[in-house]
């Protein structure tokens, strides 16, 4: 009998430690695991390195985690979405470190980390400031840059449906980074609006197989960043 369910978001994130590297799914608000992020704010871990495509908007979710000054570094491709003020303010104040990575390289580095590929050569970013200081090499007359796999201690992602074995489905463009992030952390934590018994999902259609998932927590009606921001919410 395998059952990866945990009773609450609080329980799910209880062991995230100071200084941990945490991958957080989402592209904009699509796929952002807001309830897990809020539980992490409550939990109090600090000095985190966060790997996420964006840095959140308004004063909720990822932006709220940054605003609480729990994050010392972000690894990110696009930290200045419209409506994003928390990160820019912290960055200009020198209170947060940024490792800027092209979006596709970020995705591939996370995938590599999860797949046991220590490093790879990509043509992306050659000749740009983001390749400066990196090892490069010419293959077939074209220059490539060496990029390294990334791994994390924890991954927080949002599925639309999960089963007790940890198999996960996503909703539309909420999928984005979650399938790779699920593979690249020591502990992968999924919040899902619907949690079903093993056997209820079509084995042909599963996006993240359960082997990559450690904990599943039921969040019946996940909040959306845009709705919270329109309501003027801030967390905590």
């Amino acid at each position: 009998m395998i059952d990866k369910r945990v009773g609450s978001t609080r329980e799910a994130v209880a062991d995230i430690f100071d200084g941990a590297t945490v991958m957080i799914g989402g592209f904009g608000e699509a796929g952002s695991p807001i309830e897990l992020i809020h539980a992490l704010i409550d939990q109090g871990a600090k000095g985190l390195t966060v790997v996420s495509n964006n840095t959140g908007t308004g004063l909720v979710g990822l932006a709220a985690l940054l605003r609480a000054e729990r994050v010392s570094k972000v690894i990110c491709s696009f930290p200045k979405t419209a409506g994003s003020t928390v990160f820019p303010d912290l960055y200009r104040a020198g209170k947060i470190e940024l490792e800027l990575v092209p979006q596709g390289t970020l995705a591939e580095r996370i995938r590599a980390g999860g797949a046991g590929i220590v490093a790879f050569y990509t043509p992306t970013a050659v000749g740009t400031p983001l390749a400066e200081g990196k090892e490069s090499r010419v293959f077939g007359n074209r220059e490539h840059v060496l990029e390294y796999g990334i791994r994390a201690d924890f991954t927080l992602i949002k599925g639309c449906k999960a089963d007790t074995h940890g198999n996960v489905l996503y909703h539309r463009t909420a999928r984005n980074f979650a399938p790779m992030m699920a593979t690249a952390a020591t502990v992968t934590i999924v919040q899902a609006a619907d949690v079903v018994e093993a056997g209820a999902l079509d084995p042909e259609a599963i996006v993240t197989p359960g082997i990559f998932v450690d904990r599943v927590v039921h969040v019946a009606s996940p909040a959306l960043e845009s709705a919270l921001n329109e309501a003027g919410a801030s967390y905590p």
């Binding site: 092209p102 979006q103 740009t128």
Partner: protein, 214 residues
């Protein structure tokens, strides 16, 4: 300038039927409104959707069905969702036929700068631009010919940080269509009512006019 000519429509005419196209956030997105009669383009949005459709009707939007600009979109019949590794495998692996991007500067050698002015207080943010220019078969730039301040955007050498080296295929400005060739900028077409000298004066690199195109 002839109001009937617009660069989005002109660009759309250069896209073959059945092409897989990524339209950059903002101005390039308008190309989708000018698809020539009888052609179908399939739009890719790098956050994980092939077969992107137009903006949703009022009340039918889904906050988790968005494009790379984080605006709500729809999907067309035959659409598919996928993760970021797959999405950028499409881009980096040369599977997309065309990327249409905006520009801060384009150099005569095809260098593109479109992600950062390099200003001290700027928040650096790159998204998928460097992946697109490195991987997509053809990169079209859609831009005003000069900045709001009147500074030329087509230059001999980019002064802003690069997005990619030698990546731009063709430029569609409000004044002209210009190819990037081994000999530098080459005129393809002037906007109606625009004289060549008017364009050359607003371009910081020579534009050749006798380039044989295929």
């Amino acid at each position: 300038m002839d109001a009937r000519w617009n660069r989005h429509k002109r660009l759309a005419q250069d896209i073959p039927n059945g092409s897989y196209v990524n339209l950059g956030i903002g101005i390039p997105e308008l190309v989708a409104s000018h698809v020539p009669e009888g052609r179908t383009f399939i739009y890719h949005t790098e956050n994980g959707l092939l077969g992107m459709g137009p903006s949703p009707a009022a009340g039918e939007s889904d906050p988790e069905l968005i494009n790379a600009g984080k605006r709500r979109v729809t999907m067309m019949p035959g659409a598919a969702f996928f993760d970021q590794a797959t999405s950028f495998a499409m881009i980096r692996g040369g599977h997309l036929d065309l990327s249409v991007l905006g520009a801060l500067q384009v150099a005569a050698n095809g260098d593109l700068a479109n992600w950062s002015t390099g200003a001290d207080d700027a928040i650096p943010a790159v998204g998928g631009a460097m992946d697109l220019v490195a991987g997509v078969k053809r990169v079209f730039v859609m831009t005003t010919h000069v900045t709001k301040e009147g500074e030329p955007k087509l230059v001999q050498h980019c002064t802003y940080p690069l997005t990619g080296r030698g990546v731009v295929t063709r430029i569609y400005s409000d004044l002209a269509v210009i190819d990037v060739t081994e000999r530098g900028f080459a005129l393809v077409e002037l906007a109606p009512g625009i004289a060549f000298d008017f364009v050359q004066e607003r371009t910081c690199a020579p534009i050749i006019t006798n380039h044989a195109r295929k």
